[in-house]
Amino acid sequence: MTPEPFLGVTERTPVRHHILSVLVENKAGVLARIAGLFARRGFNIYSLAVAPAEGNARFSRVTIVVDAESAPLEQIVGQLDKLVNVVAIKDLAPRDALERELLLATLSVDNANRADVLDVAANTGASIVDVNATSVTVMLAGTPGACDQLERALESFAGVELQRTGRVALPRLVQTASA
């Protein structure tokens, strides 16, 4: 059963997503601290990705896409900042962020639709990363929009198993005029 849409609107409400790029100490339990904070304060997480930052064993970067309608962004950032293991928080408005996401999908194929699958992959920029007699696995690393597009394109196929990573993001570079 799907939950009631926010504010009781019957159509799908555009959710105000915000990206927080959070640098944390790479210590035991730090993810539990973040997840626990979001749970007890009633903040919604849309997606979350964690990995060591800059190849550094001491710090990790957590990219959290938050639903800024569940709570004011200022509250989310303020409470997050109080976690002692949180070192820095960058609030990336979608237009200032370079976002990427990875999508993997395995599809059942037969001789009748194999060409269609290859077509969809070619048209969306996805690559074929695994094949056997009955299945194909495609991969796309791209913008969340590109991943959405591929996901929609795959809706017409049967037997799809699909997994997305959630977004990672960094600030866009400031463009300076060339000399």
Binding site: E25, A32, L83, V84
Partner: protein, 571 residues
């Protein structure tokens, strides 16, 4: 110098200047109890771990220093969860040390194992699971630094038994840099731009109110507050957590705001054009219905914790710093409001029309609880510290006791923890042995933690406990009377069961009882003469007494209900 982890822990506590640990030993913490025998630190053996936690809180509230409690793993640790949660709600500095099963057994459901760092994650400022004996000094130093700086709070250290038994080469961090806390920066520079905006708002204000919260006491800003208030002539209200931050005897003090606040304090906030919040957090017990709270007021919000800004009420100026620095900056900028004569005239009208009142006591009893508190206060030594449990007696104590200085009011605010009073009073007396400590308690609260009077007697901690025995869970009874059509459900406790006098005597205390006015004066007099053992007095009070004024939960402060004696006068 080679030390065991256990020795390193005790030595680290000594380095932090700890003079008292409240605790109770058990298997996983056993190694740490051995070096206590050789330490200068006083250990107070409690009868229940909850007592250790509340004692540490009472100690912290009375002294301003971090309170320290130590318990074993599993049930020892879970029994101290309530005090940790209480300290978290009231921003009380606490360092709690729990034993843990050996590292190799963690996660195996070993005997007396529990995930106490997981359990307390949401109710500590931070917690640590120690990984090696070498890091004990750093963790202890970090725990005290975290607990006492910025917005204070409880910090828990979980120490596995094998680590307390292993050895380390002794060292101690010499600077904050060595603590390795890259994400913690409690020192915040005052934003002069925000100060200038605040000064501008103050200069336009004709009806300002200084809304003083617990952060004022935490930052030891009471002198700065007095200076600022007297120069600007602004009215002052002190929340439940800030009682004692401004003298009750001062002409500019309107008293406590909120659900059971003084009429003038509540109304001054409601009609103000500028509310200067000093380390307060717009708690629902103060605001009542948010939408009608101080509806015409601009807000200057001073807080060390930026997450408090705009959480409940949008601030026109947010000043992130401690209250002392903020008041000093505002004073340096000569922030001055408009002439406040008209404002004060209005406030004086409210004060005259709606003072604190209660029904005339009768000679034969039952006693009026408010009258008992006033009588104890009148006969108490200057500087007496008052602790309370939670409920009607707590509200009456806050209303009818005159607090003149910081550290004299020890109570559970945000969490509302029944049973806080007796152990907290014991902790306060340990921290301030020079002061008389009265615990104003209810019969319901007393029954929750009374066993700690055995601790008090055994350790020579002579507190005085006044049980306002109305035979009910009084505050619940009041709500059932007012909001549930007098359908009293599970609130009757009986005045005679237990027999509080016999119970006190069984615990080695002096037990007294008063049912009428003469006895009331006599027993208070007797209690004041006993300074070697704890005294417990069973005051038989009127069950039907209710706390007024009252703003019903969720109602607007404008709809404050005054005492029946004052009704009929034009509100």
């Amino acid at each position: 110098m080679q030390l065991t982890g256990a020795q390193a822990l005790i030595k680290s506590l000594e380095q932090e200047g700890v003079d008292t640990i409240f605790g109770l030993p058990g298997g996983a913490i056993l190694p740490v109890y051995d070096p206590i025998l050789d330490s200068s630190i006083r250990h107070i053996l409690v009868r229940h771990e909850q007592g250790a936690g509340h004692m540490a809180e009472g100690y912290a509230l009375a002294t301003g220093k971090a309170g320290v409690a130590m318990v074993t793993s599993g049930p020892g640790a879970t029994n101290i969860v309530t005090p940790i949660g209480n300290a978290h709600m009231d921003s009380t500095p606490l360092v709690v040390i729990t034993g843990q099963v050996a590292t190799a057994s963690i996660g195996s459901d070993a005997f007396q194992e529990c995930d106490i760092t997981g359990i307390t994650m949401g109710i500590t400022k931070h917690n640590f699971l120690i990984q090696s004996a070498h890091e004990i000094p750093r963790v202890v130093a970090s725990a005290f630094y975290l607990a006492t700086t910025g917005r204070p709070g409880p910090v828990l250290i979980d120490l596995p038994k094998d680590i307390s038994q292993s050895t380390m080469e002794w060292w101690y961090p010499e600077s904050i840099e060595e603590l390795d806390l890259p994400g913690y920066h409690p020192e915040i520079e005052v934003d002069q731009h925000a100060v200038a905006q605040a000064v501008e708002l103050i200069s336009q204000s004709e009806r300002p109110v200084l809304y003083v919260g617990g952060g004022t006491l935490k930052s030891r800003a009471h002198k700065d507050l007095l200076t600022f208030a007297e120069r600007t002539k602004m009215p002052v209200v002190t929340t439940l957590m800030a009682r004692g931050a401004f003298p009750d005897s001062h002409d500019q003090h309107l008293g406590m705001p909120g659900m059971h606040g003084m009429y003038s304090a509540v109304m001054a906030i409601q009609k103000s054009d500028l509310l200067i919040s000093l380390g307060a957090r717009f708690d629902d017990r103060v605001t009542g219905q948010i939408s009608s709270f101080a509806a015409k007021a601009k807000i200057i919000h001073v807080d060390i914790d930026k997450a408090e800004f705009n959480k409940v009420r949008r601030a026109d100026v947010a000043l992130q710093t401690n209250v002392a620095s903020a008041l000093q900056a505002l004073d340096a900028a000569q922030a001055t409001p408009q002439n406040l004569d008209v404002w004060w005239k209005e406030i004086h009208t409210w004060q005259e029309r709606f003072p604190l009142v209660y029904d005339e006591p009768t000679a034969e009893g039952p006693l009026r609880p408010q009258h008992v508190i006033e009588a104890i206060a009148r006969m108490a030594a200057p500087g007496t510290i008052v602790a309370a449990g939670v409920g009607q007696h707590q509200m009456w104590a806050s209303q009818f006791w005159e607090f003149e200085e910081p550290g004299t009011w020890v109570n559970s605010g945000g969490a509302g923890t029944m049973g806080f009073g007796v152990p907290a009073a014991i902790g306060a007396k340990v921290g301030r042995p020079d002061r008389t400590v009265w615990c104003i308690d209810g019969d319901g609260c007393f029954q929750m933690t009374a066993q700690e009077l055995v601790t008090a007697r055994a350790e020579g901690i002579p507190i005085k406990v006044a049980i306002l025995n109305n035979a009910y869970l009084g505050m619940v009874r009041q709500w059932q009377e007012m909001f549930y059509e007098e359908r009293y459900s599970e609130v009757y406790l009986s005045a005679d069961l237990p027999d509080y006098v016999k119970w006190a005597e069984a615990m080695g205390c002096v037990g007294l009882r008063a049912t009428n006015l003469k006895e009331m004066h006599d027993v208070i007099d007797r209690a004041n003469q006993i300074n070697d053992v704890p005294v417990v007095i069973d005051f038989r009070t009127d069950s039907s007494e209710k706390v007024f004024p009252m703003v019903a939960a969720g109602a607007s402060n404008d709809d404050i209900i005054v005492h029946p004696l004052l009704r009929g006068t034009n509100q």
